[in-house]
């Protein structure tokens, strides 16, 4: 499912709204989620999951072409952890038992 398919589905679920509202809403939600992670804030969506930044310490890497050692600085990477409900619904083992 792509962003535009998601917008179409939401527009169908909210027939009282104009289609532009669904598009704007999806954009606002995603922008707010990105902004939270960029600030270093967590996102917690009950029943879905949580997003946070994971810390990666600085390390010595290697340029794969030249074999030269390079210092890779510390960094933060976005991480998602599925919530219990999402985890259980997606797991085919649980859903067939």
């Amino acid at each position: 499912m792509t962003k535009s398919e998601l917008i179409d589905r939401l527009a169908t679920r909210f027939p009282q709204l104009v289609a532009k509202d669904a598009e704007f809403a999806v954009k606002m939600i995603l922008d707010a989620m990105s902004a939270a992670l960029i600030r270093g804030d967590r996102i917690e969506i009950r029943g879905f999951g949580s997003f946070a930044l994971n810390y990666r310490p600085p390390r010595l890497g290697r340029n794969p072409k030249s074999g030269e050692k390079v210092e890779v600085p510390e960094k933060y990477v976005p991480h998602f952890k599925a919530g219990k409900e999402l985890r259980e619904r997606v797991d085919f083992v649980a859903s067939t038992q």
Binding site: R13, A25, I29, L37, G49, V77, L86, S95
Partner: protein, 100 residues
């Protein structure tokens, strides 16, 4: 500060002009649709933010950490999230104090 569904619906109320009820329902529906797609086995691509993918993991040996007893971890399907290049780059280039 943690971002939750409550803040997201406030935002839709203030910025999109939905009424409070619609704003709350819209946020709920947004995550419901993503969850539904994943449950049906479809990945979700939200350009500019990231992709949710499904991975099938085979059974592997595990251990009860308390008793040390060996028990297999059953085969399962799990969700993985990959932030977009754009989001990763912006997160990386934003200076922050190491609070960990």
């Amino acid at each position: 500060m943690t971002l939750t569904k409550a803040e997201l619906s406030d935002l839709l109320f203030e910025k999109v002009g939905l009424n409070k009820r619609e704003a709350k329902d819209m946020v709920e529906a947004f995550f419901d649709e993503v969850r539904d797609a994943l449950e049906k086995g479809n990945g979700v691509k939200l350009s500019g933010f990231g992709n949710f993918q499904l991975r099938e993991k085979p059974q592997r040996p595990g251990r009860n950490p308390k008793t040390g007893e060996e028990i297999p971890i059953t085969a399962r399907r799990v969700v993985t999230f990959h932030a977009s290049q754009k989001l990763k780059a912006t997160v990386e280039s934003t200076p922050r104090v190491n609070s960990d």
